[in-house]
Structures are given as C-alpha cells and as structure tokens.
Amino acid sequence: MEIQELLEYLDIPFSFQQRPTPLSPQYRVIWGLSILVLILEIGSKAQTSPLSRLHLLNWAIRSNENRERMSQLIENRSSPVAEFIKYDPGFTRAIEYAIADGLVEIKNNATNKPISLTAKGKKFAKELIATNNCLEEEKKFLKQKGKLITAELSKSLFKLS
C-alpha cells in the first residue's frame, strides 16, 4: 500500500481524549508529607535534621533495594553509594508544603538551618506510628537505621556527587 493511499484511508474525523495518568506513589503529596514527618520523628535526633540528610533518608527508604544499599553503606560493607543516590525534587516540594501547612519549620537560629518538627507535625507522626499496616517497612528501617545515617555522612555524600 502506498503511503498516499494509507493516508486516504485515515482521512476520517477522530479526537483525542485526555485520560488521567498514573502517578508513582512517592510523588503524591501525602506520601511526601508522611515520609517527612516520619523521618524527623523516628529517624532524627531531637526531631531535627539538615535538609541534605532529609533527602538522603528519603532516597534510602524509597525501595527495598535502596534500603539494602544504605544498610551496606553504614555498615561499611561497600563503597559509598553516591553514584546511585538520586535527589528527588518532588521531596523538596513536599518540604515546602509541610512548612506552609505548619508541620515542620526551619530553625533559623542554627547555622545550617535545619528542618524541625512542629507540635502539629509531631501529632501527625504519632498518628502514623499508631496506625497499623501502614508504611511498616519504612517505619522499621527508620527505627533501626535512621539515626545511624548522620549529617556528616550526608554531607560527605553530597560532596562526592
């Protein structure tokens, strides 16, 4: 069939209809907010953490594979994972929303301007922790490994990448 002929066959009216697109769960607003408050509540000293460390933890708990890599890194079983780490711009937006909604705040008095959990955010985190069968893997990882992932580590990884 010639191209011309084919195009003639196609010469009928048609329309496109936009369908909703699927969205990876990590890019949902609630997901980002929930992970953020959990990192601060369970996985951070004094419920406070510098921004880069939040990003590192967000990457670390994202999947089984990442969790495993992170565990290996903090146990010195492998070389730095910098090449794997991806910083998620969506998570930055989640932090911005969280600040706007009063879940977290920026500590301006400290030098590195860390992010800290507010009372409202703490209440949210407590509710998440009390809810069974929800984010269980994430909670477990943060509980066991969260505080071992230090600000120094995230700083050095930042420099590497």
Binding site: L23, V29, I30, W31, D101
Partner: protein, 672 residues
C-alpha cells in the same frame, strides 16, 4: 431438665447455743420478705454456696457469705462468735430429690459436699445413704466424684466443650450458666451482660452460655462448619498429592496428562476424561496409540528373521550413515529447544520482577489509602488541593503541581495497578506452563538422542562382529523396543490405578459440599431463630406491662448475634434510666423462663432474684412483674424473690395472685 429448691436449712452453733433457720420452698412464685440487713441475701447465697456455685460470683476461694455464718453472729444486739456452721439444701429434678450438705465454718474441708439421695429435710423420717463429693477443685466438673459432674447429671445437663482464649477446649462450667438463673443483690443488677465469670478464659462466654441454656443448634452448627472446612482442606491436599504423583509418573516417560483437574471436582470421571499424551517427534500422541505403534514396529521386526552379518553389512553401513545424519539433526533440535527454554526462563524472570515491583507499588498505594483517611491528614490544607501559602489550586502530584498532567486519584491508581498485576500474573502463569511443556519435550529429545547413540553403537558392533554371526543391531533393536513397550505399559497401568483412586475422593468431596450446602447460611437454625423471636416478643410484651419508657419498645430487640437486648445494634446500658434497666433485667430473665415453656431448652425452670426492686422501679411495675412471675406455678417452674418492700404494699401486690410468702419480722437466723 429441671431444678427446684425444696428446703433450705442453715445451722450456726455458738457458745450460746444453736442458731439457724428452716425455709421450706414451694413451686411457683415464692417471696421471701424481711427487712434490710436481716439476712435474706445470706439465705439466697447459701443456696449458691450449697450448690458449690460461688465461682459464678468470684474466682476467689474464700467463702462468699456474710460474717453472720462465718465469724460473728449478732442477735438482739448481742454478738456471739460462730463456732461451726453449715448449710443443707434439698433440691428436686422433677422426679428425684436429693439433699446437699456443705459446711461453712468448721473442721471439715470446705471443698467437700455430702449428698443424700433423698429428701431428708422435708421428710425427716427417711433414712438413706450419703456419699461425699468434692467441689471447686480441678476435676469437679469432669470426675465421677466431682460434685458438678454429679449435679450436671442430676439436672440432666450435658455440658458442651467450648474454645478458650488459650486455644484449648474446656467444659462450659455450670458456674458460667447460672447467671441466667440467679441475680445476686450487690453486683448482680449492674450489668446484664457482664455477670458471667471471665476467669475461665472462655471465648465469647455469654454467647456460649446462652446457646447452651436456650439449647440453640448454633454451637453445634458452628463446630460442624469448622469440621467441614477442615475436611475440605484435607481432601484438597489429598487431591493435589495425587495429581502431582500422576504428573511425576507421566514425566518418567516424557508424557503429560491433559484435562486432569487440579482442584477436587464432585463428579468423577469428568466429562472430558484425562488423557495421557506422549511426546512423539514434535507432536503429542495418546499413550495407547504410542504403545500400539511400538507393538506394530516390534511385530514387523519379529516377522523378519534375524539376518547374519555378512548378508547385511552394506545395509548396516547405509543405516549407520542415516543414523549419523539423524543424530546431527536431532542434536540441532536439542540446541534449539535449549534456546527456547532459556528464552522462556528469562521471560518468566522478567515477568516475575515486574510483578514484584508492581506489588511493591501496590502496597505503597494501599498505605496511601490508609494515610488519606487519617485525621491529621484530612486537617491539612494541601490535602484539600489548595496551596497553603497562595491558596491557588494545586494537584496531588509533587512533580507537576500545576495540574498539567491530571494524575489519577489514589483509588483509580490502585485499580490501575491491580489490573496490570492481573495481566502480568496471567502472563507468568501461561509462560510457566509453556516452559514446563518445553522441558518435557527437551527430555523427550534427550532420550531420543540417547536412543540413536545406542543404535549407532549397536550398528558399529554389528559391523565389527564375525561375518557369520547374527546381527547384533537387529537383536538389540527388538530388545530395546520390548523394553520400551513394557515400561510404557507399566506406567500406563499405574496412572490408570491412580486415576481410578480419584473416584472415592470425588465422592467424599461431593458429600462434604452437600453437607456444607445443607447447613444454614448463618449459624442459627430455623428453630433457633424461632426461639429468639419468641423471646423478643415475650420480652417486648413484658416491657410494655412494666411501664418501660426510656426508648421505643419496638426498637429494643434481642440480637441474633449477641443474644442480648440491643437498641439499634448497641448494648442498652447507657441509654436507659436506672429503673428501666432493671425492667430489662426482669423481662429478659423471665423471658428466658417463659420461652422454655413452649420450646425445648436447657433452662432449669428456676429463677432466683435478690432484691429485684433495686432502683425503686414504680410500684405498678413490680406488681406486674410479680403477677407475670406467678404464672410459673402452672408450668411447675419456680421463681424465688427476696425483697424488703414494705409489708402492706407487698401484701396488696400479692393479693390476687398465686404465691407463697414467707415473712420474717426479725433476724432470719435466730435461736432454735
């Protein structure tokens, strides 16, 4: 099934002599009247104590009776120390009387109960033998010398075993059923449901107790359901064991079994019969056909004489060449098959990892669903789709906030992933089946290769053997073929036997399915439903008579799941005025007694209420209650009530109804 209290005797010995009381009871309504603190409750609790049932009130082993019989007896403002005391109780089961004696204070072990097999209190001239039983010790409900074992037999109760919270089974103890028959004064009236002794750790105790006292089939049906489920699971595993045995046998001759149901079916053989298919070249033929083919080959071989080597050396050389070509061909096929299997395996693996990541994503979405219902989340501004800072509309996506992409809602997304999972799982399933078939074919080719090698070897042997000897190849070909026929036949036989053994399994499966179908959908049988309905009617009728006013009476129902009165599906406790809650008690407990007149139940026809006029329910209602209770006389039942109602009022209430009234003006336990 009946128990009636006929005579109570309490004896207390003090340094000032013997004190005590004798109360002959009668059937029908029996009212024990005395002032407060004069010892009514002592009398009623003595009945419970004599029956060894104090465990219904508390798990403790100290004697649940007031000090008047245990420690200090006060009479006309003088106190006497109690030296010894005992209670004797005469009861009847409708056809036989017994007398029970249990010491309260004294040297005897309080776990000991003496029983005379006759009415020695009301008929003092009778003499008869006594025997001793023990009570409130382990085994008292199960061993022959256990009093509750004896008592259950006497009143005709066959107590079921019920599951506990410790995953074991124990007897439904008598103590757990008596709260339906006896309400004590102090704690008994506070909550209708929570009066059942929990320390036995019986699961859903008040339901089990109700099912027993009302003789519901529910308990039986529930047990049966569990049993049938168990049988069903057993049959399934038997079935799949047999299926895998069949498959293993088939695999030994590179065959496969078609149409063999992997789950039990109720008609055997199935309409499309299972068929054993043997791999033949690149095709599948039935096992019967394969055997026939082999036998024909053998027959045509055997029709020829075994040639001598020098006669056939040329032909053998030709055959050898052919076989070598065939071998090369088939080895090529083998390589292709290997590759196919390799590809299939890779594709199964990649499907597997796709499924794995979909499942991970799905579980995250499920988490999201949970999250979006949390209170803290619904309070957030971003959750409502508005930017908390600039109040413009924002989308649910962190990467495309301006809503260009129109993301799916979480629920849509869950559905989307579930659909994908379904497809991928189906793909994996079919890919795995293909893989299995290819493996079988590979095995078939492999064994064909081995055959050809054998043939080549025997052809070579033939060529190198002496000229006048018979052809080695021709002989071996025959032997090999015979062997193959024998083996294939034996496998076919074994598979046939196995297939035959599906028939009884199928029959059992059918039976179990029929039985499951014949059980009621819920756990209540028709008769159970009728009983509960009658109880509800009787209960509502009484509430009307007693002037119940807190709620619309027609909405107060007997739940067919909890068996207790409920209002719009909730326990009644908190919606009611105190006096209306007492009316609920009366109507429910008397309802149980009344329904037992027209239905077959395990109720003993006995109800003992200590101070039923607890919260001074209006006088009219106690009168209605007494009248209703007095009907028990016509049915040989007994309602015993202890009250401190003022004398005039009580006498007015009782004026026109059949009853027995026993009044005490002073302390009930008095010098004898």
């Amino acid at each position: 099934m009946s128990l009636q209290i006929r005579y109570l005797r309490i004896r207390v010995s003090t340094p000032a002599g013997l004190f005590g009381v004798d109360i002959p009871f009668r059937e029908g309504l029996f009212v024990l009247h005395a002032d407060n603190t004069s010892g009514k409750s002592t009398c009623l609790q003595s009945i419970i104590y004599a029956l060894g049932l104090e465990g219904m009130i508390s798990p403790q082993h100290n004697i649940p009776l007031p000090s008047v019989v245990t420690d200090l007896l006060e009479y006309q403002n003088v106190r006497y120390p109690v030296l010894e005391s005992e209670v004797l109780l005469e009861v009847s089961n409708g056809s036989k009387n017994i007398t029970i004696r249990r010491q309260i204070k004294g040297n005897q072990n309080i776990h000991l109960i003496t029983v005379w097999e006759d009415a020695i209190l009301s008929q003092p001239n009778i003499s008869c033998l006594s025997s001793d039983y023990f009570v409130r010790r382990s085994g008292s409900a199960s061993r022959e010398r256990g009093f509750h074992h004896f008592l259950a037999e006497f009143i005709g109760w066959q107590l079921p075993t019920v599951p506990t919270y410790d995953e074991t089974e124990i007897t439904l103890y008598i103590e757990t059923i008596f709260p339906f028959l006896f309400v004590e004064q102090k704690h008994g009236w506070s909550n209708l449901r929570n009066r059942f002794p929990t320390y036995f750790r019986i699961k859903d105790l008040n339901k089990r107790a109700f099912e027993f006292i009302f003789n519901l089939d529910a308990q039986e049906i529930a047990t049966q359901k569990v049993l049938l489920k168990q049988q069903e699971a057993n049959l399934k595993s038997h079935w799949s064991n047999k299926v895998s045995e069949c498959n293993r046998l088939a695999a030994s001759i590179n065959a496969t079994i078609d149409n063999l149901p992997s789950q039990p079916i109720s008609i055997w053989p199935p309409t499309i019969q299972p068929a054993v298919l043997v791999s033949y070249a690149n095709d599948w033929i039935s096992i019967g056909q394969a055997i026939l083919d082999f036998e024909q080959q053998l027959a045509s071989l055997e029709a020829q004489e075994i040639p001598v080597v020098n006669e056939i050396s040329e032909i053998v050389n030709e055959q050898l060449e052919q076989k070598n070509i065939e071998k090369l061909n088939i080895e090529m096929q083998l390589r292709i098959k290997f590759e196919e299997i390799e590809n299939s395996t890779i594709s199964v693996d990649s499907l597997q990892s796709r499924i794995f990541s979909l499942e991970e994503e799905l579980s995250k979405h499920k988490d999201l669903q949970t999250l979006s219902n949390l209170g803290s989340v619904t309070d957030l501004q971003v959750n409502s789709g508005t930017c908390p800072t600039c109040h413009q509309h924002i989308s649910d996506s962190l990467i495309a906030p301006q809503e260009v992409s129109n993301p799916m809602t979480i629920d849509q997304n869950v559905e989307f992933i579930e659909e994908q999972l379904k497809i991928f799982k189906a793909m994996r399933q079919s890919e795995m089946q293909t893989l299995e078939i290819k493996r079988r074919q590979l095995n078939a080719i492999n064994s064909r290769v081995a055959d050809i090698r054998e043939e080549i070897r025997s052809l070579k042997t033939t060529l190198t053997s002496p000229n006048n000897s018979p052809s080695y190849f021709a002989i071996e070909e025959r032997i090999r073929l015979k062997d193959k026929i024998r083996h294939t036949k034996s496998v076919r036989e074994q598979i046939d036997v196995l297939l035959g053994s599906f028939e009884p399994l199928s029959g059992q499966w059918n039976e179990v399915q029929e039985m499951i179908r014949s059980l009621p959908k819920g756990i209540l049988s028709d008769e159970d439903t009728a009983k509960i309905r009658d109880l509800e009617i009787c209960f509502q009728q009484q509430l009307t008579e007693y002037g119940f006013s807190s709620l619309n009476i027609n909405e107060v129902k007997i739940s067919s799941t909890s068996y207790f009165p409920e209002y719009e599906g909730f326990d009644l406790r908190f919606d009611l005025s105190a006096s209306d809650y007492i009316r609920i008690f009366w109507a429910y407990l008397l309802g149980l007694l009344e329904v037992s007149r027209s239905h077959q139940t395990n109720h003993l026809g006995l109800l003992i209420l200590d101070e039923p006029r607890q919260q001074s329910a209006r006088e009219t209602s106690i009168e209605a209650f007494l009248r209703r209770a007095s009907n028990s006389l016509q049915y040989n039942q007994q309602v015993i009530i202890a009250t401190s109602e003022s004398r005039d009022v009580l006498e007015a209430h009782l004026e026109n109804i059949p009853h027995t009234l026993r009044q005490f003006d002073e302390r009930i336990i008095a010098p004898i």
